[in-house]
Symmetry: C2
Subunit: 132 residues, 2 copies
């Protein structure tokens, strides 16, 4: 899925996420966009839905928040499973990919004949700066 041109709302939401230095909740995004005419959560969620589909935004399931992809220029969906390390102190998120992990999980699903659609890997803890 490659990204077509973004609509106005999609572009606004994406811009907010790109400028943020950490993940944002949908409602935080909404608040940041009230000056741009956003009034209801659905405006945010609908934009997010598309941005997730295009692979330029990721959803962090364990904290109900959204973050811009670390390399939105490339097609993130083609990099295999995306993994995240989330600092519970400063909120900073690191995105990474590990093909060996992908292979192990794919091996398991193949063995079970499980048809994987979407895989979540999220490590919560303390980043180097905060752990010190």
């Amino acid at each position: 899925m490659n990204a077509p041109a973004l609509t106005k709302n999609q572009a606004l939401v994406f811009e907010v996420l790109e400028k943020a230095d950490g993940p944002l909740s949908a409602y935080t995004i909404l608040d940041k966009l009230r000056d741009h005419g956003f009034r209801a959560p659905l405006q945010v969620y609908r934009a997010l839905e598309k941005l997730l589909e295009y692979g330029v935004v990721h959803r962090l399931e364990s904290i109900n928040a959204f973050v811009a992809c670390a390399h939105p220029d490339q097609n993130c969906h083609s990099h295999g499973i995306v993994a995240f390390a989330i600092c519970e102190s400063c909120g900073h998120v690191m995105e990474f990919h590990d093909h060996e992990v992908d292979h192990r999980l794919m091996d398991w699903t193949r063995g079970k004949k499980f048809k994987a659609e979407k895989t979540t890997i999220e490590i919560r803890g303390l980043c180097e700066a905060c752990a010190a």
Copy 2:
């Protein structure tokens, strides 16, 4: 963290989860325990908090639900990272462990000096029966 004797509320919640054939939301658990005197969500959440701590229940972050551990007799926390495959059609959950995946993720966190506290691995898709 080994499990001390469960309190009445904890035992009730755990029993409901054990009998269920899939993950349950906190509010679903609440409804199933109204006849036993449960009236408020907090009664469920407080019990769940302890059961999670004891490692006899797992939280599925991607679906906001809870499931009994596949082997609550052993200490699940000592098995390394727990991974789940969740069927989006029938709701069935398979729990598994893969030490190679653990090692790869630990290698990454070590390299980044990230202090991991809790890791989530959840694969959503279709189980063998539902994919057919």
